[in-house]
Structure formats: C-alpha cells, structure tokens
C-alpha cells in the first residue's frame, strides 16, 4: 500500500511532447481514474508509473521511494492491460503464479495465494485451462487475478474493460469497485469513458493534450467543472454550450444568446459582476432543462418561481427514448440543444416546445482562451 506522487512529469517521444509536466498526488488506498480523450497521454503516464516507459523529466515516487530509475520488477506494482496479455502457453494457474515464481516464492507458498486470488474472482474452476479456452470476461478476470495475487503496493489499469460487451462492462465495473473496497490498495485506472470514471473513481483526473485539466471527486468535477473542456467531457449527454453575453438590465442581469435571453438568479449576480458586457460561454446540462408544460402540470417543486422570462422556445428535432428518460434534441435558433426529459411527456418531432432552464445550475466560462470557469474570486 502506498501513496503515489508525480511531480513535473514529462515525456517526449522525439520532438513530440506527450506528457507536459504534470503534478499529481494519489493518496494511499485511493481509486484514481485518469480520463481524457484519445491521445491525451493517459497510457503514457500510467506506463511511466509502471516503469515501462522512461521518464523524460520529473519525478515519480511510490510510497517513500523515488522510482525514476527502478525497473518495473522493483516497483512492486501490478498492471492490467487492455489486451489482457495472458501468457498463451500457460494454464490459468501458471499465469497467476508467474509473478510469484519470478519473485522467488516456493511452489508451496504459491498455491494458497493463487487459490485465494482465484476464489476472490470466482475463477477457481478455470485454473487448469489455457487462456484460449476462456471467454473475454473470464480472461479479464484472470488478468485481474494475476495482478492481485502478489498483493502489490498499487494496481495500474489501462482500459481493462474496453474489450468487454456493454453488460459485462457494467458488471465488472461494480466488481472492481468491490475489489478496491476489499483490498483497500491504491489503484490508478485509465479510461476514456467518463461513465467508468464517474462510477468507480474516488478521485478523477481529467487530462487533455498531456496536461491535467482538473482533479477532484466525481461529484466535484461534475458540479464544478473548472473549464469548458471538463464541463463538456464529464456528463453524458454532454453539457449544452451557447456563445452569450452577460448584460445588465433594469430587471436584473441576463444571459443573452443568439436565440434567447434568460435571467441570472440574484444569488449569482454578484460573482458574475466581473464579466458583465463580456462575451462568455453559457453552459447548461441536459438534465437542468425542463419542459415548461410538464412543470406547470406537476406544479413542480423544482422551480418554485417559474418565471416566464427564463423560458426558451424551440422545435423538437429528434426524440431518443431510453426507457427511464428520453433525450430530446431541440432546435433553438440555429443551435441544437440536448434536453433530458420525462418519457411520459407526449412529444412529436416537429412540434414546438417551451423549455425552462434551471438557472441555479448554470455554468459560465470565459470565451477567451483558456475557457476557464467564471465564478466568484
């Protein structure tokens, strides 16, 4: 068990800088998820921690040891790869025992550890099989087993679930979380899937172009994204963005976009004072937009004051029923907005719809580079 710290970590491949100096501390026992779009340097970072990739500059410590120049075998970490990387000529038992054998465990010491790991993952029946005789899900379990059998200081996962079908992925997600709770070992998990990040991580690290954009708990990064990129990346479907201007009127402060104008709640007027009259990016999540009609019918408690002037109108373009909810693409002016609505609502493509924005949940970002979140200093 160990704390892992990265400081000013960089990685160059020739001229190309894949990781551009990142600082990160992962506490002992934490489940940290590195998430970001393809090519942002997640795997490279993970592989540097594992010792599979040389560090260009910076420092990595695991526990109290600087591991920059340590070979992978001396770092006492385990890694699970996307392609499983099981040794094809060895039985499951030998695959699990390999790491122990390489570390000089005697045959007699190996067996109980292998059995324990196999029991934990429910693969004791598969021990005598070869990897090619296993299904994808079973291989994944064996790969996990090979990692946990050694009881390492930390686990590193590089998109371990991306080769599984959707249902199995959900199941393995839960299982990994359970495993983490049970072992209480530091885990670093790389994925480009924000759902995996949100559901499993106790700490989410969002990366882009070799840089860390934000670090925080799942709800933190969801509620308070520090820039437009994070806001758009976390949450599915993604947050809606509008180019807008913050204007002061007699009745209060308004967000004025090309096709609508909505009032800013009084609570927020103070903090937003600094961007009055400036171009901003206005963001609102699909679940924070409601159908005006439905709210009225239900006399909903969501919006105590259903102000008619915080309403926007549009035309229903696409309806995607998902069962418990439906996603509706609404065309407002020349921009399409995604709205998450109650499926009981009777809608038809082409009809007009009035939408009520929950402005308490609004986000504002600087329209100038670097699209940082605007809030009270």
């Amino acid at each position: 068990m160990a704390k892992i710290t990265l400081s000013k970590l960089t990685k160059r491949f020739g001229e190309y800088e894949a990781v551009k100096g990142i600082d990160l501390t992962i506490a002992d026992g934490e489940f940290a998820v590195l998430v970001g779009p393809s090519g942002c340097g997640k795997s490279t970072t993970l592989r540097m921690i594992a010792g599979l990739e040389e560090i260009t500059s910076g420092e990595i410590t695991i526990g109290d040891t600087v591991v920059n120049d340590l070979a992978p075998k001396h770092r006492d970490i385990a890694m699970v790869f996307q392609e499983y990387a099981l040794y094809p000529h060895m039985t499951v038992r030998k695959n699990l025992a390999f790491g122990l054998k390489m570390r000089g465990y005697k045959k007699g010491e190996q067996a109980p550890l292998v059995q324990e790991a196999a029991n934990m993952l429910g693969i004791s029946e598969l021990l005598e099989r070869k990897p090619r005789e296993l299904s994808g899900g079973q291989r994944q379990r064996v790969a996990l087993g090979r990692a946990i059998v050694r009881k390492p200081k930390a686990f590193l996962f590089d998109e371990p679930l991306s080769n599984l079908d959707a249902k199995l992925r959900v199941q393995m997600r839960a299982e990994l979380s359970r495993l983490h709770r049970r072992l209480a070992t530091t885990m670093i998990y790389v994925t480009h899937d924000q759902v995996e990040a949100m559901t499993m991580g106790t700490k989410i690290v969002i990366m882009k172009d070799g840089l860390i954009q934000q670090v925080g708990s799942p709800m933190e990064v969801y509620r308070r994204p520090l820039n437009q990129f994070v806001a758009g990346f976390i949450g599915s479907p993604a947050m809606n963005f509008f180019k807008a201007m913050l204007v002061q009127r007699a009745e209060g402060v308004y967000v004025e976009a090309a096709s609508f104008r909505v009032p800013v709640p009084e609570r927020l007027c103070g903090p937003y004072q600094c961007v009055l009259g400036r171009e901003v990016i206005f963001g609102i999540r699909p679940e924070d937009i409601h159908s005006f009609e439905l709210l009225q019918q239900q006399q909903s408690a969501i919006l105590p004051e259903c102000r008619a002037d915080s309403m926007i109108c549009g035309e229903v373009e696409v309806i995607e029923p998902l069962g418990p909810e439906m996603l509706v693409l609404v065309k407002c002016g020349d921009q399409t907005t995604v709205v998450r609505l109650d499926p009981r609502l009777d809608l038809e493509v082409g009809q007009d719809i009035n939408l009520q924005l929950d402005m308490e949940k609004m986000h504002l970002f600087d329209a100038a580079h670097p699209h940082a979140r605007i809030e009270a200093p």
Partner: protein, 290 residues
C-alpha cells in the same frame, strides 16, 4: 443430361489425383519394387532377388559408415543452424540503425547457388592460400596450415559450410514468428518481475515452439537427404570417403556401380529411417505439450 453432384465432384478432383499418382505414388512404389531386383542402371536386364539387396547392405560396412556420417551431419548441422538462426533472429528483431540492410545481408547465403557457395568456401578453406588459414595463422591460433579438405577436417568443413548456407532459413521463419508476438506480453512479464533471460525462456521460447517444431522437422528431412552440397564438396579431393552420407552412397551405387536395385534399397532405407525418426519426433513433441 443431368450430372449428379457426386460425379461432378469426382471428375473435378480426378486430374489432381492422377497427377499425384503419376508424380508421387508411382515413383515411390517403383523405387520400392526395384529394390527387390538386381538391375543394371541402364540396360533393361533385371532379376528378382527378394531381400538380397537389403541383406547385403546389412553386412556392408560402407553402408553403416554412410548412415553414421549422415546422422552426424544432420544432427550437428541442425543443432548449429537452429542455435545460430534463433540468435540471429533475436538480434534482427531489435530496432537498430541499418536493420533492413543487415536483414538483407543475412539472407544472402540462402540465395546464392550451392555451386557458387562451395567454390567460395573451397577457396576460403584452401590449405595453402586460403583466407581462413591465413587468419588463423596470423592470429597464432594454429602453428601450421590446417588441411580443411583432408580426412580429419572435411566433416567439420562440410558442417560449417552447410550451417552457413542454410541458417538463413531458420532466421526467416523465426523472425516472422517473433514479429507476431504481442509486445504487451513482454511488458506483462516485466511487471511480473521477469528479467531479460527469463523473458526469453518464459515468453519468447514457448511462442517459438511451434515454428521451431516445423523448422527442425523440415531442416532435418532436408539435411538427411542433402545431396548437392555434400557431393560438390567431395569433388576433387581425396577425403570423399569421410563425408559419404547416405544420398551420396545411393548415388554412387546407382550411377557408378550401375546397381540400380541396391541404390533403390538404399533409398528405401533412407525413407524408412526418416519416417521412424519423424514418428519419434512427433511423439516427443506431443509429450512435451502436456
């Protein structure tokens, strides 16, 4: 008229079956048939003599010598070829500058005609003005020129030349297989704590197992029946006797003593030895699988 699917099928494979019979089955059977006759190689006179050819060979010390030489030659060349070939393939699978150039060079010996290779080596190994003797002498390794084509060294020379000529085949096969081993296996092994040597023995070698099985089998058959390299090296030297392997001996019996029947018997024995060795080999491999 409607041709049934069955008839159509048979008529389609018929030409193939005929070709196989004409080109494979007939010559082999004819060879076996001939081995029971006393037959002159060119004149159409033959006499059935049953197993006499075989019985004669069992008492023929020349036959036993050639079987021995053939075995020594095949086993030593295969061991050396495989060791050298795998080593070279491992080196060539690394990334380094000029790799493609070196890969091309390594394949050279396999491409040049045997005749040329033999002339080249005879020249290199010449005991009076050969380059190899010159180097050995200059380095002080030998005190006097080694007679490479003489009785004592001709087998070593033959093995050396054959290994040089045929190891690129091993390189080619092994290199092709090496490139299909997923690099992530090595990374997993690194994280699991395996050093370079253990990664070779626990990851690389097991992956090469199947290709080595085929390579050793093929090379074994080819080395045991190799004629041209051996024959060409014996030309113009007095030590011919000391590298007279089975194929050469069969050739001599057939085309120098005109004993076609005896030659055929030799060929049949060679065939039998190969079949037996292959069977044992397959069995060993299968047992190793468990």
């Amino acid at each position: 008229m409607k041709i049934s699917e069955r008839t159509a099928g048979y008529s389609l494979v018929l030409p193939g079956v005929f070709l196989i019979c004409a080109l494979l089955v007939y010559p082999v059977l004819y060879g076996v048939y001939l081995s029971f006759f006393s037959k002159h190689s060119f004149f159409p006179e033959q006499k059935f003599i049953g197993l006499t050819n075989y019985l004669y060979l069992l008492q023929d010390s020349d036959f036993w010598m050639s079987l021995w030489y053939g075995t020594v030659y095949s086993v030593s060349t295969i061991v050396l070829q495989v060791a050298l070939g795998v080593a070279a393939a491992l080196i060539l699978s690394q990334t380094f500058r000029g790799r493609n150039f070196v890969r091309g060079i390594v394949l050279f010996p396999y491409i040049i005609p045997t005749v040329v290779a033999i002339i080249l080596w005879k020249w290199l190994l010449n005991n009076q003005f050969g380059f190899i003797n010159y180097v050995l002498f200059a380095l002080g390794i030998v005190g006097e020129p080694v007679n490479w084509m003489g009785k004592d060294h001709i087998m070593s020379s033959l093995v050396l030349i054959s290994v040089w000529e045929f190891f690129p085949f091993v390189v080619l096969s092994v290199l092709a297989r090496l490139q299909t081993i997923p690099p992530v296996l090595y990374e997993a092994a690194k994280v699991d704590g395996a050093g370079q040597l253990r990664r070779f023995f626990h990851v690389t070698l097991p992956q090469l197992r199947n290709v080595l099985f085929v390579v050793i089998l093929l090379r074994g058959i080819w080395m045991f029946t190799k004629f041209d390299t051996v024959w060409l090296l014996t030309q113009g030297g007095g030590a011919e006797k000391y590298i007279r392997t089975l194929p050469v001996y069969a050739y001599m019996r057939t085309f120098m003593y005109y004993q076609a029947g005896l030659g055929s018997a030799l060929a049949v024995i060679m065939f039998g030895v190969l079949v037996a060795a292959t069977a044992v080999y397959f069995n060993l491999f299968r047992r190793g699988d468990e």
